[in-house]
């Protein structure tokens, strides 16, 4: 049976936990999205934009140094080469097209690292829509270049001062805006989180990553043994995993262990959390015994989130995907290795996936695919300090 069910459940996870004010809008979105699946015109336009505007397909690149270094074949799915420098644009072009179909002229979004904010601002500029991006003031500080990019693209960046001043709080504020302006506004969620249909819809738009990877592997005459991706909310991971769910291949999601799992300063709800409800769906969550949500920590702003998409929770419990963790320090080491030896600056988020190569078994004829979800330009000043 294909998941989620009609009400957005992946097993016990997912669903719609939202203020009543949003329920009609969510229902409308659900219907509009279902229509696009059968709409050949929509699918054709999306495909065309992926090609001509986003620059898809992105290459599947053999990292020769890394391959030698680890003694196996290491391939990088180069989402960092997509327009705006990360996989986030796939989803934003998809949802942008949908928002246009629905006649929405005002777009709101939350952003952590700023990659989804930039992608949303880009899509809004492209489709001629007004754009407001909520961003934690802590993230505004550590991802300044992306803030500037959003502003240049014509978006308003709204600093969020509540709570931990990061992605979680930006999402709270975006939901409050949505509740207030629900009749005119399209909420462009950037991850496979939020109330149904977002986890399904964002997954479907990101699934292009895995579909391309499969075709590219076949052309190279290879079969993947491992597919590795970092997991914050989990959109790039589900994007590359989804096409391979029924195949014989190890799927590995990497959460941010921050300063170490035992330090309590991390972003690893799948490794250490319990099921709970945040931002519209039920999923693994960093929370205290009472159900108060804990603050997450990661050097990678895009992973700095106490929750995770409900489908990942389902895949974890089912045992289909293995989830591991990588610390800040390990991620920085992987960042340096790729930069110095392959000439590619990865996003700190993606560096978590790269760092996991240290933790798997390598053999000469084994093939590992890393989803290089974004480029690292935005992180230069963080790395400059290290």
């Amino acid at each position: 049976m294909s998941l989620p069910d009609k009400r957005g459940h992946f097993g016990i996870f997912g669903g719609i936990f939202a203020p009543e004010t949003l329920m009609e809008a969510i229902g409308e979105l659900n219907k509009a999205y279902a229509k696009t699946k059968k709409d050949k015109g929509f699918q054709k336009e999306l495909k065309e934009l992926f090609k001509s505007y986003v620059g898809r397909p992105t290459p599947l690149f053999e990292a020769t140094y890394l391959s030698r270094h680890y003694g196996s074949k290491i391939l990088l799915k180069r989402e960092d080469l997509a327009h705006t420098g990360a996989h986030k644009i796939n989803n934003c072009i998809g949802q942008g097209l949908l928002a246009r179909k629905m006649g929405k002229k005002r777009i709101i979004a939350e952003t952590g690292a700023g990659q989804h904010g930039v992608a949303t601002a880009t899509a809004a500029a492209f489709f001629g829509m007004e754009c407001h991006v909520f961003m934690g003031s802590e993230d505004i500080k550590r991802q300044a270049p992306n803030v500037q990019r959003m502003r240049l693209l014509g978006a308003e960046v709204i600093p969020v001062e509540s709570g931990s001043k990061t992605l979680k709080d930006a999402m709270n504020e975006a939901m409050r805006d949505w509740v207030t302006n629900v009749r005119t506004t399209y909420y462009m969620i950037g991850s496979v989180a939020g109330p149904h249909p977002y986890p399904m819809m964002v997954r479907d738009f990101q699934a292009v990553i895995g579909k391309e990877t499969k075709v590219q592997l076949k052309k190279m005459g290879l079969k993947a043994n491992n597919i590795i991706a970092c997991v914050g909310g989990g959109s790039n991971a589900i994007g590359i995993f989804y096409e391979f769910i029924d195949d014989k291949v190890n799927l590995i999601g990497v959460e941010a262990a921050g300063k170490g799992l035992s330090s309590g300063l991390h972003s690893a709800p799948l490794a250490t959390g319990q099921p709970g409800v945040l931002h519209g769906s039920l999923s693994y969550l960093l929370q205290n015994k009472d159900g108060q949500v804990k603050e997450a920590h990661s050097i990678a702003a895009g992973l700095d989130y106490p929750g995770v998409g409900p489908e990942h929770s389902y895949l974890k419990d089912k045992g289909r995907v293995k989830y591991g963790t990588v610390t800040d320090t390990e991620a920085i080491r992987a960042f340096k290795l790729l930069s110095e030896k392959e000439g590619i600056l990865p996003a700190l988020e993606s560096a978590h996936a790269l760092a996991y190569l240290e933790k798997i078994e390598h053999k000469k004829n084994k093939v590992s695919v890393i989803n290089l979800s974004g480029r690292g330009d935005k992180d230069l000043h963080i790395l400059g300090e290290k």
């Binding site: 936990f17 203020p19 039920l282």
Partner: protein, 257 residues
Amino acid sequence: MIASIFEKARKENRTMLMPYFPVGYPTLSRSKKVFLNLAKNGADLLEVGIPFSDPIADGPVIQKASTVALKAGLKVEQVFGALNDIKKKLPPTIIMTYYNLLYKNGLKNFARKAAKAGVKGVIVPDLTVEEAKDWLAASRDQVETIFLVAPTSSDARIKKISKASSSFLYCVSLTGVTGARNKLPKSTYVFLKRVRSLTKKPIAVGFGISKREQVNELRPLSDGIIVGSSLIKAYTKAKTETDSLKNIEKFIKRLGV
């Protein structure tokens, strides 16, 4: 139980005052005194907010109050303890909080402990009727569940929610988060009339209400009026606890429900 209070008020041709205040703000013991004060000053039903870390339906005032309470380490267990201490002096009490606190504490456990502390009902703004099956099963015979309807809810949804909602319907006056508004939109009044025509159950209106003029306009349309943020603001404005409590008294008088 809650229904009978509404019935009584209806017979007396009276609109009910339903104040909301977060437990633990500014401290646990001070919030207890607020509840007792509200009881003395004519609260027909008391809405006790249990602060949650991520209150997406709330505006800045309740957000801030929640942060204060949680920073002091407030636990659900303490909330029930505090309510249990004063339950005999309180009007029927309803808890308002977010679903994760119910879920994480265990649905059955939460319902049982709430009932034991004298709580009669719960309002959970992020629990939709579609997702409420488990909670309703766990809380049956313990506490009632009141659902919310919004101006964006279709007629069909309002009917469906009315069926699921126990005792009364909570009408969200406007599209937005909690917090005082200078003026309520005209659509509020249209919405309340629409709800009235779709349900036989009593209705209460909340979100944005802070003034006597608003109350005067709402009174003929609603069986109950809920005030939260403006009450917290009035309480917070004074420097001493005594003055804060006096402010509450004054605020309620001025409101004139």
